[in-house]
């Protein structure tokens, strides 16, 4: 990055941080949650009282780069996995791949397979959590249901107690597999440059094969639950396809050599809003394609497609805004890598009117299609004779300099980029997390919802819920900065007039 650009960016960032700090002093927070920055939405009205701008703020993690400086690069998979209690495995894996690149030491074939096995298991588990616990209540219980019922308890009420037990038990077994390899679920110690730290004991193989088989069944069952409850209800389908939740942007996702969805490795492919491939690049080339934009009114960074230049929060054929996460991955690929997932994917596009699908709420369905692929991939890997090989690591001998690693986290593309001195100590560390890749489109969704619900200074009933649904479909990782008192997401909406005076404050949670 050029120095002038960097300076401008840093100044803007510092101003925004200072403004945020000032803002924090002004509002009070329910003491049960101290996540005061989470789910904070600011809405600015024009002189007519209509929405001029609305956006979601999440607290920014501060000081990561400084903290990393001088530390051995091998520590990064552990440090970065500690950043977030929600997706530690994604950071761990992106970081590990970054080390491979840094030391120019690709993993051995069995080492790579173990990584892929763990990663697909994580995807299945994390997606299941979202479907049933986080986002699913909107649909399984119903978007119009009272908030008191729109939670996991309400989901179990709808799908049945036995089904609820199945969800909890399957999730636990999937986490057992991750813990077997990673030592622990939340802070795995699996990844090393050139491979992994633990091989699979053949004695454990039957247990995990059984799990993978059950995993496929579980994913297919989840798909069936979704079809029965959501797709058979025309009101839900109408909501999914409604204009309020539709944006014509570009999409980015990782694909294998056949352009099929891959979570762990491959090239990044970008399609435009007509579904046509416009870019395809390796992780190492990401800076030529992804740039970050800062707005004076927010401390958030909005990524955009660099070759197209920043064109504002616009949609359509020329937009430089792209989105990531399940829907984007399906849109950016030529299909799924496994047969059952491909069948589910075909049905997805047939029902929603062909590729690409621009409906944000379709992310929920796309997420279940991905669950099927993750489970099938687990099964395929566990049936590969090489999976029990003990050759899981290649010891690096090259002098490190710079490395870039990328994975598809459940919430979208995740980049890790480090530079080191010749001893392998970090001199620069940069992360672009999934939610940053989605930030611009999330901002558009929130603004759209707000514009539809506020006219002439009058706020329509149901604003909070509609706005929430708009960003929840992306599964934004608001957990990055904090664990907090577990763990409601208070949604705080502040409405300002054109003089930036606070008019109204709404809260939920």
């Amino acid at each position: 990055m050029e120095q002038a650009v960097k300076d401008t960016f840093n100044q803007g960032s510092a101003r925004a941080n200072a403004a945020y700090q000032m803002g924090r002093r002004r509002f009070t927070v329910d003491p049960i949650t101290r996540l005061e920055g989470h789910g904070k939405i600011d809405i600015y009205l024009d002189e007519k009282g209509d929405v001029e701008r609305a956006y979601l703020q999440v607290p920014e993690l501060r000081g990561f780069e400084v903290f990393s400086l001088g530390r051995p690069a091998e520590d990064m998979p552990q440090i970065t996995s500690r950043i977030c209690g929600v997706c530690p495995t994604a950071h761990h894996m992106a970081s590990t791949k970054c080390l491979d690149d840094l030391y120019q030491t690709p993993p051995t074939a069995p080492g790579r397979k173990i990584r892929e096995l763990v990663y697909n298991t994580f995807m299945l588990e994390d997606h299941a959590l979202h479907v049933f616990v986080l986002g699913g209540p909107d649909f399984i219980v119903g978007p119009e249901a009272p908030p008191a019922e729109r939670n996991i308890v309400g989901v179990i009420g709808k799908v049945g107690l036995e089904a609820g037990k199945k969800v909890i038990a399957t999730r636990r077994r999937l986490r057992d597999l991750i813990a077997y390899f990673g030592g622990k679920v939340v802070h795995p110690v699996l990844g090393l440059p050139g491979g992994v730290s633990k091989a699979l004991d053949p004695a454990e193989l039957p247990k995990f094969k059984e799990l993978a088989k059950d995993g496929v069944e579980f994913a297919e069952w989840t798909l069936q639950v979704f079809k029965d409850i959501v797709l058979k209800n025309s009101d839900y389908v109408k909501l999914i396809t409604s204009d309020a939740y539709t944006h014509k942007t570009c999409y980015m996702g990782m694909v294998d050599e056949q352009n099929k969805v891959n979570f762990y490795d491959g090239k990044l492919r970008v399609v435009d809003c007509d579904g046509k491939e416009i870019y395809k690049f390796t992780a190492q080339e990401y800076r030529d394609f992804v740039a970050e934009h800062v707005e004076p009114w927010s401390y958030m960074k909005f990524t955009f497609l660099k070759p197209r230049g920043w064109k504002g929060f616009t949609e359509g054929p020329d937009t430089s805004i792209y989105s990531v996460a399940p829907l984007a991955r399906l849109n950016a690929s030529d299909g799924m890598a496994t047969p059952k997932a491909q069948a589910a994917c075909d049905e997805f596009y047939k029902t929603l009117g062909g590729k690409p699908v621009h409906h944000t709420l379709a992310n929920h369905w796309a997420r279940i299609v991905e669950m099927v692929q993750a489970a099938e991939t687990m099964e395929k890997l566990l049936n590969d004779p090489e999976i029990t090989s003990q050759e899981v690591r290649r010891v690096p001998t090259n002098v490190p300099k710079e490395g870039i690693g990328v994975v598809e986290a459940p919430r979208g593309t995740l980049f890790h980029h480090y530079r080191t001195d010749e001893r392998g100590c970090i001199t620069m560390a940069n992360l672009i997390v999934a939610t940053a890749n989605n930030a611009a489109r999330i901002a558009m969704s929130v603004e759209r919802a707000a514009k539809g619900l506020i006219k002439g200074g009058q706020v329509t009933e149901g604003l909070l819920n509609k706005v929430e649904m708009a960003f929840r479909a992306y599964d934004p990782c608001l957990g990055c900065a904090t664990h907090s008192l577990p763990g409601h997401l208070p949604l705080l909406v502040k409405i300002y007039d054109r003089h930036r005076h606070l008019l109204q404050e709404l809260r939920q949670g």
Binding site: P31, G63, G85, I152, G183, V186, S484, P486
Partner: protein
């Protein structure tokens, strides 16, 4: 669903201090918990009380819950066995279910930032706030929902949950040391936690000096009037 198998998940637990990530060195060589046999106590011998520290060990003050229970564990080590497990975790949401199952009483120690109290203040959070499910956004699964979920699934859930929420200054900056005001308040926080634990661990050994905080300052402290709160 047998209780013991649920505990198989608890890898960050007190039974193996070596498995616990350390704040001072975020990448401990002993980070890997032993695989294979479950080291967690079986259901029959599960203590009645769990003290669970929550937080992120590399986010400055966010680690205070983890630090507090770590000190408590050190203080309890080698003493007359109390029916207490002391655990820490960086997880949240649904993952807490795996920790809570099988205990009668749970004390959660966590960071909070209300901005309305001096740094280091220990808020004892009210049970009704946890009991209610109404008005809670379903994005993250809160303690209240976790308890409700566990009960609905027929799991043995705690009947009493107390939350000690410690007011912090900075939970957003990556770092492994507490801010100075919180560091200064730590002995008092530990004293408060220690008192509460002794009070709940009934019957406690009368030979022990009540209210003494062995882990930090060693000073005798006035027992504090801490109300016990019950969850339905």
């Amino acid at each position: 669903m047998p209780t013991a198998s649920i505990h198989a998940l608890v890898h960050d637990c007190a039974a193996d201090p070596a498995a616990v990530p350390r704040v001072a060195s975020p990448v401990a060589e002993s980070d890997r918990a032993p695989a294979g046999p479950v080291f967690y106590p079986a259901a029959a011998s599960t203590p009645r009380i769990l003290v669970l520290g929550l937080g992120n060990d590399i986010l400055t003050d966010d680690a205070v819950g983890l630090l507090a229970v770590r000190e408590l564990r050190a203080g309890l080590a080698g003493r007359h066995p109390l029916p207490i497990d002391v655990c820490e975790t960086t997880e949240m949401g649904l993952a807490l279910l795996d920790f809570l199952v099988g205990y009668q009483t749970v004390i959660l120690v966590d960071a909070i930032q209300t901005g309305r109290a001096p740094v280091g203040t220990v808020h004892e959070l009210d049970a009704p706030a946890l009991r209610r499910l109404a008005g809670v956004t379903p994005h993250f699964l809160g303690v209240g929902e976790t308890l409700a979920l566990g009960r609905q699934l027929g799991l043995p859930m705690p009947t009493r949950v107390l939350i000690l929420a410690i007011e912090v200054a900075d939970p957003f900056t990556v770092g492994t040391t507490l801010t100075p005001p919180l560091q200064a308040a730590l002995p008092a926080i530990l004293g408060r936690l220690w008192n509460l634990v002794l009070e709940l661990a009934d019957p406690w050994d009368s030979d022990e000096v009540p209210g003494r905080c062995p882990s930090c300052c060693g000073q005798k402290q006035e027992p504090m009037n801490i109300s016990r709160r019950r969850l339905a």
